[in-house]
């Protein structure tokens, strides 16, 4: 054990992880600095912008406000964990197709928040979409194409369920 650090064990994108962390470090820093998951972005460090969003047991959380030791035994999903066998998640495809990506800094967090929404509610209304992502700031797109992308993905997911 490293001095002053605590062991934390959790599942990251389906795989078990064991690592040491400073007790007061955030999940954001643990993911970025210790585990090299740089898709989780630092935007404000106080939970205002949503760029560092990850899924904690399927729910979107801002990882800058989660103390790293508290994820013991939990399941963390980052953008790396949502494409299966090299195939893009319908949301990732829709974000590309709809032109919902500009600078891309909000994109991983935005897609993860949208995924949590669609997992629970595959057919959200416009209002429900806006509500779900209102904590994820985007300074480039004005959200128009992001909302369109989520709608597009919702249709894709529904039609693939039917064909299954």
């Amino acid at each position: 054990m490293k001095e002053g650090k605590v062991l934390v064990r959790f599942r990251l994108n389906g795989k078990p992880v064991e690592t040491f962390t400073k007790p007061n470090d955030t999940l954001l820093n643990l993911l970025r600095r210790n585990l090299g998951i740089t898709s989780v972005k630092r935007g404000c460090e106080v939970g205002e912008c949503g760029a560092c969003t990850v899924l904690l047991d399927g729910n979107p959380v801002v990882s800058c406000l989660i103390l790293a030791p508290t994820v013991e035994g939990k399941e963390i999903t980052t953008i790396e964990g949502i494409s299966k066998e090299g195939e893009l998640h319908p949301l990732q495809q829709a974000f590309i197709k709809a032109g919902a990506v500009q600078c891309g800094f909000c994109t991983p967090g935005m897609i993860l928040t949208a995924k949590a929404l669609l997992d629970k509610n595959p057919n959200p209304s416009l209002r429900e979409i806006k509500e779900a992502i209102q904590g994820n700031l985007c300074r480039c797109t004005g959200y128009t194409k992001i909302i369109q992308a989520i709608q597009l993905a919702s249709k894709e997911i529904k039609s693939s369920c039917i064909s299954d």
Binding site: T38, S39, E48, G99, G104, F105, C106, R139, T144
Partner: protein, 785 residues
């Protein structure tokens, strides 16, 4: 074989049928971004790297008497502190004039000014160290209000005779005559405020020691400027500094200014300590210390005749420069030369003042000096129309610039000007007439209104400032094409547009083309600002691609048994115009050229022709071309709270050829969001020069629920003769008229006019209340009919 660049550009200008130009091609960088693989500055984090954290001034105006770093030295052996004294080269980073240090030396001029960098092997330790640097100041009196600063005895820069950095002016005709002929006059003062870029990625750079200097990866908009400033600060040659852009998490102009400063800060550490070094700003650092949109006071008077023609304008524009000149001379110049709006005005007098104050300095921000002045213009256009009893949109149509018009600076508009058509089309699409009548009649707590505003924006650099395009294209033996440009990809999608340009000219699939952009390894292409990346940046690409085709023509002609002039490139094939069924594959032609020892690289250069500008009169050639924009906005105001909800915006662009409509829509939608934030909610709260709200809880930017429905833009493709396929520039456009379109709609809804932004609910509530009170008072006193 045509080699004259003017004729080559003209050939493409006249082309009507395209393969990829005008298509909404998917972005080349989107896949990396949705996978989270795109590498931004901070993602270059690695063990063994040093981290620099900013020590900022706690005073607005003070002499630095002593900097005590002993606390940091006790914190850890690995910690060190860099101050102005550690700069080996010149501590001078001013953009326009040499008035700004990288790290404050003897004096601080604004609260938050960088004084030192604490360096440690751990970013948290570096941050902790900043608290331990103790600075002894001798406070000086500060001046915060630009109007006061004009005559103040307090000098922000003690060596200068006045706080006025620069005066600008433009005059034409005779305003005394113009106003005396006017049947209606409007005169008011308009105030606009700081706007923070609020890019989601804060400023940052990472530097690596290189054998003969440094290699820097930055969040930048102009690699060659970052190179120049870094070299100056380190006291080494530009050949010893390589700068490459990282993926940039939003820029909007701010990283044109901040990029080079962060590159120099990171490079300073890496260069002196011989280890990789990263400097990133926290959100708080960013909002306190990085430049913002210039606050402005615009005193504006205009007159029109009964037949609905503008007769004269007079404007005095005061720009608050903050502590340093930075871009102020250019933003003010732009504001001055755009002060007529996109209208014909026979008589005008415009004066501008750029004034130092002890506040955070201004800088480039989408719209670049133009939004404050267009807010004044477009408010006045509505007020004049009302006094004339005319529809405000029809009044604009009567005065709008057309082909053959002369601008405020008397610049002749020789190319087509599409804003009149854009205005008419926006009128139809928005159902303008019906809504103007219908909404008037409404009553209740929530009232609706519809408003219009126009905007114009000179594309690329002003007056005689050298303006050029440059690109280098190489084809490898497998037929893959690499195009080098200094233009950066900052999220706007320009590199995707560049791929389309090269694909169209070479007639090959887009996936064969890669843009190597934003690097000093590419030719200096000027900055990615002034809406020039796609348009001016694209010219060099066309010319380089044309040169390459010429290099291959002889070989192709031999293989196709035709003449060189009959060789055509398209669909990934090379064929003969005489018998198109005979063709050779692109790759086979490339292989043949390699065998024939034909070198397959070419540079495309174009110097934009510019006219003369008479600085004394402020008349002459201002910009290579102008883009135009119309926004119609529909709002709903809650009279009980003063809350404005923007319901819908109809944008109409006259910005030349649209290279990629999906990316253009993205620019329009994003710029409207920023314009809406600027109009209604974004406000840097300052007390004695201290930023009180350096966070997103207290500095509000639009979220999903603030955004209106944005209609598909109307495009009027008024071509620019030197633009690639006639493209002009789009990036900044939709922000410019958004505040005034909203405020004109608010007036239509409430009868209350906003002359100071942002129109927060509180401000609007009191404006509505006082307007209602004065109407009641007038009615009681019988002064109103």
């Amino acid at each position: 074989m045509e080699t004259d660049p003017y004729k080559l550009l003209d050939k493409w200008l006249k082309t009507k049928k395209f393969n990829v130009i005008g298509r909404g091609m998917e972005r080349t960088d989107a896949l990396d971004k949705v996978l989270g693989r795109a590498k931004y500055v901070e993602d270059y984090f690695s063990d063994g790297m040093l981290f620099g954290s900013l020590v900022k001034s706690e005073q607005s105006h003070a002499l630095i008497q002593h900097i005590d770093i002993s606390g940091v030295e006790h914190l850890s052996d690995s910690c060190s502190v860099f101050t102005a004294e550690d700069i080996p080269g010149t501590n001078e980073v001013g953009y326009t004039i040499p008035d700004q240090p990288l790290l404050a030396a003897k004096k601080v001029r604004f609260h938050g000014e960088p004084i030192a960098l604490v360096v440690a092997e751990d970013p948290d330790l570096a941050k902790e160290g900043t608290e331990l640097v103790k600075i002894r100041y001798k406070p000086l009196k500060s001046v915060f209000d630009p109007l006061e600063a004009i005559d103040s005895k307090i000098r922000v820069h003690e060596e200068q005779g006045s706080n006025i950095v620069l005066k600008t002016h433009s005059s034409k005709g005779n305003i005394v005559e113009g106003f005396s002929k006017s049947d209606v006059l409007v005169k008011h003062t308009y105030r606009t405020h700081y706007q923070d870029h609020a890019y989601l990625e804060t400023e940052g750079a990472v530097a690596f020691p290189a054998s003969n200097g440094v290699r820097v990866i930055g969040s930048i908009q102009y690699p060659h400027l970052a190179q120049q400033i870094t070299a100056r600060v380190l006291g080494i040659g530009t050949d010893q500094v390589e700068v490459v852009q990282a993926v940039v998490g939003g820029a909007f102009g701010g990283k044109d200014d901040m990029g080079p400063l962060l590159c120099a800060q990171a490079a300073l550490i890496a260069f002196k300590l011989g280890k990789p070094a990263m400097v990133t700003y926290s959100r708080e650092d960013s909002m306190i210390a990085h430049c913002k949109r210039d606050p402005a006071v615009v005193e504006y008077k205009s007159g029109a005749t009964r037949d609905g023609k503008l007769s004269a304008i007079e404007a005095r524009i005061i720009f608050d420069s903050g502590a340093y000149a930075n871009r102020g001379p250019f933003t003010l110049w732009r504001a001055t030369m755009h002060a007529s709006g996109p209208y014909e005005v026979p008589n005008a007098r415009v004066e501008g003042y750029l004034v130092y104050t002890n506040k955070v300095f201004q800088g480039s921000f989408r719209g670049f000096g133009n939004p404050p002045v267009q807010f004044a213009v477009e408010s006045q256009m509505d007020e004049l129309a009302e006094k004339l009893g005319m529809d405000p949109l029809e009044f604009r149509l009567k005065n709008i610039l057309r082909k053959g018009s002369r601008t405020l600076t008397n610049q002749l508009l020789e190319d087509s000007v599409g804003i009149g058509e854009a205005l008419s089309k926006a009128k139809e699409k928005s159902n303008w007439k019906e809504k103007r009548t219908e909404y008037r009649k409404a009553s209740g707590d929530k009232v609706k209104g519809i408003g219009v505003a126009c905007g114009w924006h000179g594309i690329s650099t002003s007056q005689g400032v050298p303006d050029w395009s440059n690109a280098l294209i190489k084809i490898d033996r497998e037929g893959k094409v690499a195009a080098y440009t200094g233009i950066t990809e900052i999220g706007q999608g320009t590199h995707t547009g560049h791929v389309q340009v090269v694909s169209e000219v070479l007639g090959i699939p887009t996936d064969l083309i890669k843009i190597e952009g934003g690097t000093t390894a590419a030719p200096d292409t000027g900055a990615t600002h002034a809406s020039r990346g796609m348009s001016v940046g694209g010219i060099g690409l066309i010319l380089a691609a044309e040169k390459l085709k010429q290099k291959m023509e002889k070989t192709a002609a031999r293989l196709l048994a035709c003449t060189s002039s009959q060789v055509r490139f398209g669909r990934g094939l090379v064929f003969s115009a005489k018998s198109p069924e005979r063709s050779i594959r692109w790759n086979d032609l490339i292989e043949e050229c390699y065998k024939e020892k034909i070198e397959l690289s070419a540079e495309g250069y174009f110097g934009l022709p510019k006219g003369k500008f008479d600085g004394k009169k402020g008349q002459g050639f201002a910009y290579p071309t102008f883009s135009y924009i119309v926004n119609v906005a529909e709002v709903e105001v809650d009279l009980r709270t003063g809350m404005t909800k923007v319901l819908r915006i109809w944008p109409a662009l006259a910005s030349g050829k649209i290279i990629n409509p999906v990316q253009v829509e993205g620019q329009v939608e994003g710029a409207i969001a920023q314009g809406l934030g600027y109009a209604l909610m974004e406000e840097i709260a300052l007390k004695d020069g201290v930023v009180l709200n350096p966070n997103f809880t207290d500095y509000l930017i639009p979220t999903t629920f603030d955004m209106p429905e944005i209609e598909k833009p109307i495009y009027v493709e008024d071509l620019f003769r030197y633009g690639p396929f006639g493209a002009k520039g789009v990036g900044e456009m939709s922000l410019i008229p958004t505040p005034s379109a909203i405020s004109n709609a608010v007036y239509h809804a409430t009868g209350s006019r906003i002359r100071e932004l942002p129109a927060t609910p509180e401000k609007l509530y009191w404006t509505i209340k006082s307007a209602a009170e004065s109407r009641t008072k007038q009615r009681k006193e019988g002064t109103s009919p």
